[in-house]
Symmetry: C2
């Protein structure tokens, strides 16, 4: 099978290398602004013209690994409309344009795959679809952002503060220069949207999902967690109850003997719960050149070998409903009339309040945090598992 | 697709129930000695005659869930030769007759699937085959026996002795009346053989794999593990180094912050390590009616939908070589001239020796334990991860 790769950065070049191992896959064209150093011997494959790919009838499949939304959206639509299958690890694109792209692929009778868009090397979305064919998925949850996990793990290990650990993560290549999507939870949010839509045949959008990241966590929070036997992880959470979906992204405290609590460094752990199978969890590297490249090529080989997961669609109207009650840890700097009624118990130390909430609605907790953020008040919260 | 089920016990009836959810699968015949209570309304499906299945041209696929080796082997061969696909969760059969059955299926141009034979509900073997298509598997390892894990977990939790916990496991249905295959490690051994043969395109047999179970573990061992920060798990281990395969079944001590150490009750956790993907782990229920039934039906749907994992076969001559050096915990009741030279340090308490070995070959450790067993001496060992 002859294929093309659009975007030859970390993941695009990783997929190129893995394709050699798979056999039977020839990368005919690479779309990028310039030849990547180390690839001068295949310089003739490189092009800056999309038409060199869409107009080449030998190319059956295109990997989109450019990143971003607008240009990849335009290029992927062009490829699908030219009758080419598409594989993409681009979560921003799939989360934002899921409906439009899947409909375009269907209209052109070609495949669109995006297993690596949530979970990196982990065959999470593939197995979610495979399980769904003969089971009813009731819940999905997981650690899906390696950067946030690396930072939390290092803070737990070393007792260091957020900024210091973030800097180390950037130096090691585990965090980007602009880490906002990872630390504010929006990367996790996108993977939550993608996974939920597959798990429940839904079409939820990013703006429907409350999202709280780890950018305001401090060493004093970690100290409290450790003293109380907890480990903090940034979690995707999505639980179905008939036509209601409780879905959010939030930091969560786990007892130290839970699987989640023992996911180290930049690793991911993603779980589905199904009526028959019970819980099934998947663990591995959520990012990286070769790991994600391997997942990209696994999708390519699936398309080549006509491996399809045809789940019976039971799409119904699903309403986001975050009225579920949970207990929260809340750290803040002033006991005011908004917070006091929510609190079950607290400790004060050097003017900082470490609180355990009464059971409160997820939506209420996230709204309160949003309100405090807008007011410029210091706080951090995490649900208690 | 019309199918038949041979053997209507725990897994056979579980598969029957899950098939209803999948849709498009009709169980036409059930082979068993008698109608299972609760299924009188479909009594006409039951038969005791294999020819009612092999001679029925409408039946395209047969699930074998009888257990054992000799009769299922004969019946499965008859079904394959009658041009029917076969799905089986029977690890005893697949481990013992892998080569014969896969060759018979190939000769008849039908599929033989056995994903649930290792890992129960966990799509372990499926993902092992999917990963292998574009990656090089270098290692597989895992907790694959739920009964042994339940016993070890309960001993760690309660400090109770082996016999007491085994009795409780039997009462709860987590252990069979004759638990020898689970506690002596032979069930784990079979899953090791099946997984290794798929991972490495090998054809190793049960007698090539050193196997040590947990039937001689005592509360005093657990006390020592806890005092030293370890948790004990019964592990399948299989690591490839070019044409050499280090493969065994043995109890293993993990630091308490490792994923394996936090696998509770009767759950399984199975890991592959591949050149590109790195480590990928899979967690879930390794047994049970609905969980295993779901995995059986997932294989059935794969066959119906022509989902095939065609890995390029790179089969080579693989030699079992257990000369790898490991450190072991050894508990025994007499310091003799066989053991003393192997020991790096030890504590003695009430005439019992708790020892840490020098790095010694896996084959040497297992041979020594076998020798002690034949002599009727008390001991237990576990490798230290």
């Amino acid at each position: 099978m002859k294929i093309a790769i659009m975007g030859f950065g970390v993941v695009g070049s990783g997929a190129y290398e893995v394709a050699k191992l798979a056999g039977g896959i020839e990368v005919k064209r690479i779309l990028d602004l310039k030849v990547r150093p180390g690839y001068e011997d295949v310089a003739e494959k490189f092009t800056t013209e999309l038409s060199d790919i869409t107009g080449d009838t030998e190319i059956e499949l295109v990997i989109e690994a450019m990143g971003g939304i607008d240009t990849p959206r335009e290029f992927v639509l062009a490829c699908l409309n030219a009758g080419k299958h598409v594989v993409t690890p681009n979560k921003n694109l799939i989360s934002a344009c899921y409906k439009e792209l899947t409909e375009c692929a269907a209209a052109n009778d070609v495949s669109l795959r995006y297993t690596p868009s949530a979970g990196g090397a982990i065959p999470w979305l593939f197995n979610l679809a495979r399980t769904k064919r003969c089971d009813n998925i009731t819940e999905i949850r997981g650690i899906v952002n390696g950067t946030a996990n690396f930072i939390l793990d290092a803070m737990h290990d070393k007792g260091a503060d957020f900024a210091e650990v973030l800097k180390e993560a950037q130096e090691l290549g585990y965090a980007e220069r602009n880490p906002s999507a990872d630390i504010e939870g929006t990367d996790t949010l996108r993977k939550t949207v993608i996974s939920s839509n597959i798990a429940y045949d839904a079409a939820i959008t990013e703006d429907q999902v409350p999202c709280y990241g780890i950018d305001t966590i401090k060493a004093c929070d970690i100290d409290w967690f450790k003293a109380n036997g907890y480990t903090c992880k940034l979690m995707m959470k999505s639980k179905r109850n008939d036509d209601r979906l409780a879905v959010c992204v939030e930091p969560t405290l786990f007892a130290q003997d839970k699987l989640e609590a023992n996911v180290k460094a930049n690793y991911n752990l993603i779980t589905l719960v199904a009526d028959n199978a019970g819980p099934l969890a998947f663990y591995g590297q959520g990012a990286g050149s070769r790991p994600t490249g391997q997942s990209v090529i696994s999708d390519v080989v699936d398309i080549r070998d006509a491996v399809e997961m045809k789940a019976p669609s039971k799409a119904g109207d699903i309403t986001v409903d975050n009225s579920e009650l949970r207990k929260y840890y809340i750290r803040h700097d002033r006991m005011c009339e908004h917070i006091e009624p929510m609190i079950e118990s607290f400790e004060e130390k050097d003017g900082i309040f470490f609180c355990i909430s009464k059971p409160i609605a997820v939506s209420e907790m996230h709204a309160m945090a949003q309100h405090r953020k807008e007011k410029g008040r210091e706080m951090f919260f995490a649900s208690i598992e």
